[in-house]
């Protein structure tokens, strides 16, 4: 017969229970990291949490909207006049841009270049930033049900913000440009020189790597997406060069950039529902993006 332990050690901590729960937690972590097999558990818990997340984000939203109202009241007249002026300018520009677009299309046809696929945008609200020291992410209010796919770029009016890395039914997680090892292929707008920008972690400047020491780059050059990856549509502003340190040896220049979009203080973003053209060599979103592998540096 087993005897129960003496009362001194019987403190109520079920060690065997802890053991099983620890094994369960480790199993879940392995399944999650190695095999991405916990999507159902995740989406179930996310479903339970979603209404609470919305509820909890309400006070902040109300506060900020009140603040906006107060600011708006002061400068309403001014902004209305400014906006009317800018609308006039924009209508002029847009009428011109239609001409340019058709001209561009015809020229591309003549040259037998690929047509750039048009894409739609989907406005989304930022629900919150997850408190997570290992990554820079946003949770936005659009998900699978709204037609968002993994790997879709996310931007605001200033430029690219990040990329969708995890999908739920009604929300999705966006890895910011700042996320360590987030990569985005870019092109210098001035001279169409290509490169790749890497994220360097929270509040650190982005790095433009693999550029020769003698490349034609300058502080203040604006960088936009090049579109050769088939994930980001071409021509969207990404960052601006803030510092160039040219090395004496042959190791290449160290170039820091600042993202144009304000990554931490915007309220709304747009998901770009971008699919590369059907004639393109890689019509489907590459498998590597579905696996989020492009967010890891190749070791």
């Amino acid at each position: 017969m087993f005897r129960s332990p003496p009362a001194l050690f019987n403190t109520g901590a079920p060690i065997y229970k802890m053991f099983w729960l620890m094994v369960g937690a480790i199993l879940l972590m392995v399944l999650d990291i190695r095999y991405h097999a916990t999507d159902q558990v995740r989406s179930f818990i996310q479903h339970v949490l979603h209404p609470v997340q919305i509820l909890v984000s309400q006070p902040g939203r109300i506060l900020s909207s009140i603040g906006d109202d107060l600011v708006m009241m002061k400068s309403m007249k001014q902004t209305i006049i400014e906006q009317q002026n800018s609308i006039k300018d924009l209508t002029l520009l847009s009428s011109n841009s239609e001409n340019l677009e058709s001209e561009n299309k015809n020229l591309r046809k003549l040259l037998r270049l690929q047509e750039q696929s048009p894409y739609q945008t989907l406005a989304a609200e930022i629900i919150y930033n997850p408190i997570n020291p290992s990554s820079q992410k946003l949770v936005i209010s659009r998900g699978k049900n709204d037609g968002v796919l993994l790997g879709m770029p996310v931007a605001n009016d200033m430029g690219i913000v990040g990329q969708v890395v995890r999908l739920y039914d009604n929300v999705s997680e966006v890895a910011l440009l700042e996320e360590r090892d987030a990569t985005i292929p870019i092109m210098v707008s001035r001279n169409a020189q290509r490169g790749v920008i890497f994220g360097a972690g929270r509040a650190a400047p982005l790095e433009l790597r693999f550029v020769s020491n003698f490349g034609d780059l300058d502080v203040g050059d604006s960088l936009s997406t090049s579109g050769i990856d088939g994930v980001f549509p071409p021509g969207i502003p990404v960052a601006i060069i803030t510092k160039i340190e040219r090395a004496i040896d042959n190791s290449g220049a160290q170039i820091s950039c600042r993202p144009l979009a304000d990554l931490n203080s915007s309220k709304h973003v747009m998901v770009l529902l971008y699919h590369p053209t059907s004639d393109a060599p890689n019509p489907i979103v590459p498998e590597s993006i579905k696996n989020k592998k492009n967010f890891k540096r190749a070791n």
Binding site: T11, G12, A13, M22, G24, N129, I131, R202, N264
Partner: protein
């Protein structure tokens, strides 16, 4: 009494979880507001604590912070078991001694979380302050939480400990 106790425990834990869900921004030094509440309930009711509840809470926290599933769950379970092993000893200590022991457990839980991040996420940069800062803030919250939860009439319906 039993119903009140369970209600107090779940209500206060989920309250802590809601506080965690507030838009704090993504700063690595933000504390985990559940931990003082969790440790309070284990300290005074080590026989009645429910490891599965803490496990589920940890899973919810993982989804909320978009970290690998099971990371916070593991830390909460280990921390709560250690706390329950020490709970009798802790209550006999002087107030300062109690604070030191509680601080050790906060440190333990945060170091489990940080070490797991470091092991699982290759791009994670380890910093000792990611363990120290949240633990210090939680230590400051501990007396407040304890005062609030032991206050007669709030959760325990007049049954003062």
């Amino acid at each position: 009494m039993k119903l009140n106790f369970l209600m107090g425990m779940t209500v206060s834990l989920f309250l802590g979880f809601f506080i965690n869900m507030l838009p704090w921004g993504n700063h690595p030094y933000i504390p985990d507001f559940i931990l003082p509440i969790l440790l309070y309930w284990i300290l005074f009711f080590p026989e009645k604590m429910s490891l599965v509840l803490f496990f589920i809470l940890g899973l919810m926290m993982d989804i909320q912070t978009s970290s690998p599933l099971g990371l916070h769950a593991l830390a909460y379970v280990v921390g709560s078991v250690v706390m329950s092993l020490w709970s009798r000893k802790l209550l006999t200590n002087s107030p300062i001694g109690q604070l030191i022991v509680v601080f050790q457990i906060f440190l333990l839980i945060h170091s489990i979380i940080v070490i797991l991040y470091w092991l699982l996420i290759p791009s994670y940069v380890f910093s000792i302050y990611y363990i120290l800062f949240p633990a210090i803030v939680e230590l400051c919250l501990w007396p407040i939480v304890r005062k609030l939860l032991t206050h007669p009439g709030t959760f325990l319906n007049g049954n003062k400990l």
